[in-house]
């Protein structure tokens, strides 16, 4: 009888209700061979939360999974999982996407265009200061 009561209490305390806060999706590539995924969460008690640094961990985790490529087709879910009477809840970020290798030619073109852009920027800043 006692174990049944404990089981009932445990079930009530551990039962959760999930809800979505936001969803976003970036362009999905044709090359979907390498999937990357990260899930980061934080338990919050009675709403006392002083930072949202767990989100940054998701970004660094994705970067680690795809060091030499481009992460795209990224589905990002921000959800709340609420426990007993909303006293405790879990904020969870789930990001799923694909790691696409960046071709060397594309990289060199990008580097060139970045250099050109930075030169333009310098030129513009000089012009502005002259004005």
């Amino acid at each position: 009888m006692r174990s049944l009561f404990l089981l009932l209490i445990g079930s009530i305390l551990l039962a959760s209700c999930a809800s979505i806060n936001s969803v976003s999706l970036t362009p999905i590539p044709a090359n979907r061979k390498t999937q990357v995924r990260t899930e980061k969460s934080k338990i919050i008690l009675l709403g006392f939360n002083f930072d949202n640094d767990f989100v940054d961990e998701a970004v660094s985790d994705l970067t680690r999974q795809c060091p030499n490529g481009q992460v795209t087709g990224l589905l990002t879910k921000d959800e709340n999982i609420n426990y007993f009477l909303y006293f405790v809840w879990k904020k969870q970020i789930t990001a799923t996407g694909f790691c696409v290798p960046v071709a060397a030619s594309t990289t060199s073109t990008k580097t060139k265009s970045r250099k050109a852009a930075s030169n333009e920027g310098t030129h513009n800043s000089i012009s502005e200061s002259e004005l």
Binding site: S24, L25, I28, A30, L75, K77
Partner: protein
């Protein structure tokens, strides 16, 4: 008297059991990278997924992943760009339906 009461109850039940309000929470548009092709050059692909919730008692949000998978399946060998993601809710009596709709341009 009893019949009038039953009619009133039926009217109220009919009123509240229909999904009469709809709320959109998020509309997100991705960019048209990497091809930036014209809209007429691609094929419009759509995916939709739903979750029925009674008083919010749902334990997972896998319907979002299902919509994502459906969208990818509708354009197996192409790039999907300019993706619009909509998250909305249709309300009923003490229950509601969460809806995710995704649509994008499939470039093969």
């Amino acid at each position: 008297m009893l019949r009038a009461f039953a009619l009133r109850c039926a009217f109220i039940f009919a009123l509240f059991s229909t999904g009469c309000t709809h709320s959109i929470h998020i509309a997100n548009v991705s960019d048209f990278a990497p091809t930036y092709k014209e809209y007429s050059k691609g094929e419009l692909v759509k995916a939709k997924s739903e979750q029925f919730a009674v008083m919010g008692f749902v334990t997972e949000t896998n319907y979002v992943d299902n919509a994502y998978k459906k969208l990818m399946a509708s354009c197996p060998n192409g790039t999907i760009q300019g993706i619009t993601t909509q998250y909305s809710t249709s309300h009923g009596f003490l229950s509601w339906t969460n809806i995710i709709e995704m649509q994008g341009l499939c470039i093969r």
